[in-house]
């Protein structure tokens, strides 16, 4: 029996997913657990794994389609059901001599060999991509043979998956369930899949007797206002934050003479391309450890305190904004921090972030200094309590011992959710951070 491949929901609030790329083509043999497509969900790209072993078929989703979660996008037919690319007459494993000479023993793990023996499987008939046979390969082979062994009388006796109500209505109306495409779990026919009788017109889309994909055309950047998933999520989250979190802002100019010196030393010592952002992550993490009261979220009418110091970095992409997270940044040495930051940013730009990469952030740093921005006010990244907006490092006139002097400074703006923080707490945090930036040696204390 064919297994449906559905658009999975990887997060609670996710409603649709975008099919980026088919890794396998229709007619390809796939193994359960093997990646068959790439899908883009809320800010991340995931590989979709085959839910069963067999032949990829009935592919209805095209690359670029946005598909509601739970909808079937393809099927995995058992080897017996679907035509394959294997040329007719050439049985799988045909290149292996059927003589079964001892020296032609296929490579197989001991466990695979044992299971094959138990099921009476001839290992020379089990073919794998790598040439080495493992337990899963044998089981998949057994499964495919089992299907073949059942009488091929059109599946008579096998109940079509359907909800009890759909089954009753279909019987009452004389509808053949086998002619329908189900939208329920495992392709089960639900009431909404039945052709409409006596239901007001216009309440449901066209009858679904044919496998028509429920999709929208792929949006293209810059064309007709269509946006990608990342942009849409950014829009939703920022609107949610702006309309629900009362913001206030604390602005402070800090002297970065010592920070500039530290950057030069750090680059020399680590050999890595250390950035101001890396130094700021380290200093922010250290300050959060000193001020755990800032490491909180406002949730369901109460403060939720976070045990770990996970610092997010706002990363601009071609089509939106993502915030990958440096988990437990307070425990990372500078070199390791740089490595991780480079990895996260690279994968963010390649659209290869995993859900874990963007989860668990407690505080975000957004640096627009490289664009020459002096200062800006950022929107808090929910459910976090605060975000630090970092302006450029530039020479400014500052008082020094009663005289004007020219020194490098930077303007920091801390945006806070007033439900989670108040002005005094925010100011204490920003003050402590400013002190550390002006004298990073205090890290050693």
């Amino acid at each position: 029996m064919a297994t449906n491949v559905i658009m999975p929901a990887l997060e609670l609030a996710q409603e649709t997913g975008k099919l980026l790329r088919w890794i396998k083509a229709p007619g390809d043999a796939v193994r359960k657990g093997e990646p068959i497509a790439e899908i883009e969900t809320d800010k991340v790209t995931m590989e979709l794994e085959a839910p069963a072993s067999g032949i990829l078929s009935a592919v209805t989703a095209r690359e670029g389609d946005v598909i509601p979660v739970g909808h079937t996008i393809a099927q995995i037919a058992s080897a017996a059901e679907a035509p394959t690319r294997t040329p007719a007459g050439k049985a799988p494993g045909g290149e292996v001599s059927s003589g079964g000479a001892a020296d032609a023993r296929p490579k197989a793990s001991p466990l695979a060999r044992k299971i094959a023996e138990e099921h009476g499987v001839d290992l020379t008939r089990v073919k794998t991509a790598s040439g080495k046979i493992e337990k899963a390969d044998v089981l998949a082979y057994v499964e495919s043979q089992r299907v073949v062994a059942t009488p091929a009388n059109g599946g008579a006796g096998h109940l079509v998956a359907a909800s009890p109500k759909a089954r009753r209505l279909a019987a009452e109306r004389g509808i053949d369930l086998r002619a329908l495409k189900g939208s329920g779990p495992g392709g089960a026919v639900l009431v909404m899949d039945l052709p409409l009788v006596g239901v007001p017109a216009g309440t449901v889309a066209a009858p679904v007797t044919q496998p028509t994909p429920v999709t929208q055309p792929a949006s293209r950047k810059g064309e007709g206002g269509g946006v990608g998933t990342v942009w849409r999520i950014m829009a939703e989250r920022m609107t949610a934050s702006w309309t629900s979190a009362p913001h206030f802002y604390l602005v402070r100019e800090v002297n970065v003479t010592r920070l500039v010196a530290w950057l030069a030393t750090a680059r020399k010592q680590t050999g890595a391309h250390v950035t101001y952002t890396d130094l700021l992550v380290k200093l922010v993490a250290a300050t959060l450890v000193q001020h755990p009261r800032v490491n909180v979220s406002w949730k369901d009418g109460a403060l939720e305190r976070h045990p770990d110091v996970n610092v997010g970095l706002a990363v601009a992409l071609e089509d939106g904004l993502v915030v990958p997270v440096l988990h437990r940044a307070d425990t990372l040495g500078l070199a390791e921090l740089v490595t991780r930051r480079e990895d996260l940013v690279a994968r963010a730009q390649a659209g290869k972030l995993r859900p874990a990469d963007i989860q668990g952030g407690v505080f975000t740093i957004s640096n627009l200094g490289m664009y020459g921005v002096d200062a800006f006010s950022a929107i808090v990244n929910p459910p976090q309590a605060a975000i630090l907006a970092v302006g450029r490092v530039t020479d400014r006139v500052v008082p020094l011992d009663g005289q004007p002097a020219v020194q490098p400074t930077m303007v920091l703006t801390l945006s806070c959710d007033h439900r989670a923080l108040d002005g005094a707490r925010g100011a204490q945090f920003l003050g402590a951070l400013a002190d550390l930036i002006e004298e990073p040696l205090a890290l050693l204390l």
Binding site: P164, R168, G184
Partner: protein
């Protein structure tokens, strides 16, 4: 006349006081029910009105006073036996299950046991594993016992009065977290019949069967569901026995989907029984499997964070109902 509001606790006390005035055979017995007015302060003032002969403090011996209650009921009194925490019914089980529930049957109808055990259910009071359970499924299992679960002040008074007037043993579980919740409670005499469910909120997309503490939770979830375009019907059976099976089945037939929410442990629980009633009675009208939500299969944790996770909340009920509707 403007609707009068009472707290759930006041409604319980008013029901008991009115019944004690009406019928001299009614008396109250248990731990700390007299001068202390009960640890939840639900009985304050009763001993002053009715005296220590009818509001009787006992030593800490649940099997002892439960037995006294059963004996008194057999000999013509109508006791209200207070079992402070529902967790303690484990100690009164023999008196409830083997004595009170069986006497009428085994005496060929010669003996009646018109006793009320009033006790509590409900977690999230930070009372830890031995004082937070909702064990109403235990007694709902036993033929010969009736079980009432008031879900608000109005029900607290009406169901208590029905319980006291019933000639069978009744166990009434009050939600200890709801004692301070206010709601309209009519003055004077009224009763709520056992075995009659109430539709708390009409809807057409999904039926949420909720008991006791889970009624307000489910009504909150129904509001959230409304915001996403799902019309939820919330129905309160009010008694787990007798159970208004037909009302539950009819509601599920109407909406094609059912979610059963109860604060007792999920496994082998009230939700299982009700889900089975619906699955059998409304099978050919269901468009999705019947879902149920109860307390997690763990001892109730003392940690507030963990404790809150173990019982259904507006959010989790909302999410489960939404998933059922595939929206």
């Amino acid at each position: 006349m403007a609707e009068r509001e009472l707290t759930y606790g006041e409604a319980v006390k008013e029901a008991i006081a009115e019944e004690m005035r009406r019928d001299p055979r009614v008396f109250l017995i248990g731990e700390d029910v007299a001068e202390a007015g009960h640890p939840f302060k639900t009985l304050v003032g009763l001993v002053q009105e009715f005296g220590t002969e009818r509001v009787i403090d006992t030593p800490i011996s649940e099997p002892g006073y439960a037995g006294i209650g059963v004996g008194a009921a057999m000999t013509g009194m109508r006791p209200v036996v207070d079992v402070m925490f529902g967790d303690f019914i484990t100690l009164t089980m023999d008196q409830m299950v083997n004595q009170a529930a069986k006497a009428h049957y085994m005496s060929g109808g010669k003996i009646k046991v018109p006793i009320v055990f009033r006790t509590t259910l409900g977690a999230t009071r930070r009372s830890a594993a031995q004082h937070s359970q909702s064990l109403h499924a235990w007694v709902s299992h036993v033929p010969g016992l009736k079980v009432a679960l008031p879900s608000g002040p109005y029900e607290a008074k009406g169901l208590m009065k029905t319980a006291i007037r019933d000639d069978s043993p009744v166990v009434i579980f009050e939600d200890k977290m709801m004692y301070r919740v206010k709601g309209p409670v009519p003055e004077g005499d009224y009763t709520i019949p056992f075995g009659v469910a109430e539709v708390k909120r009409a809807g057409k997309d999904v039926t949420i069967v909720a008991t006791s503490s889970m009624v307000p939770v489910s009504l909150g979830a129904a509001k959230l569901l409304e915001e996403v375009g799902i019309s939820a019907e919330v129905i309160d059976p009010r008694t787990t026995w007798p159970l208004d099976k037909q009302a539950l089945i009819d509601s599920a037939k109407k909406t094609s989907r059912a979610l059963v929410v109860d604060e007792g442990y999920e496994r082998y629980g009230v939700t299982a029984e009700i889900a089975s009633v619906i699955a059998e009675g409304a099978f050919y009208h269901l468009d999705a499997p019947v879902r149920r939500m109860g307390a997690m299969d763990v001892p109730v944790p003392f940690s507030p964070v963990l404790e809150d996770l173990t019982v259904p909340s507006e959010k989790t009920v909302f999410e489960a109902a939404r998933a059922l509707c595939r929206k």
